[in-house]
Symmetry: C2
Subunit: 87 residues, 2 copies
């Protein structure tokens, strides 16, 4: 399954969430990740994410598609987060 994950977190929890998501998906922008993932691994990711986030304040939006080819991705502006290699 191909997913796009976007989180909106309070600053103090961003670091942990970023680190977690990068273990499972590819980081493509500030708070945006994408990649192929199995249902089992996605459940694992969401369970761990649930432990980090404050569900009254933070949110995660997931878009799931059975196949990546159904989506066409386009990046305008800065291509890649320069922090990518630093963390």
């Amino acid at each position: 399954m191909y997913v796009i994950l976007v989180y909106d977190m309070e600053q103090k929890r961003v670091g942990k969430m970023l680190k977690l998501c990068r273990k499972y998906l590819n980081w493509i922008q500030n708070s945006v990740f994408e990649g192929e993932i199995t249902e089992v691994k996605l459940k694992e990711l969401l369970a761990l994410a649930g432990g980090i986030m404050d569900k009254q304040k933070d949110s995660i939006i997931l878009f799931k598609s059975r196949q990546e080819k159904w989506l066409d991705k386009q990046v305008i502006g800065r291509e890649k987060n320069e922090l990518d290699n630093l963390i």
Copy 2:
């Protein structure tokens, strides 16, 4: 065409971009929008966005799909940006 748009902007330009994107798409999270849009309207949106953003620093990622049904959306945590009705 169904699109998901995510922007990553410097704070000082966020307000303008938010206002612009809300004219064309539905705001679903901090910097995330989705909706049906025609090619013509999308071009218009991107041209106007290009005038707001600093392409060395900011970025927009677009995911396009011919049909929304190919995507399954899931929200975890806070459902809707509470600012939605204020702006």
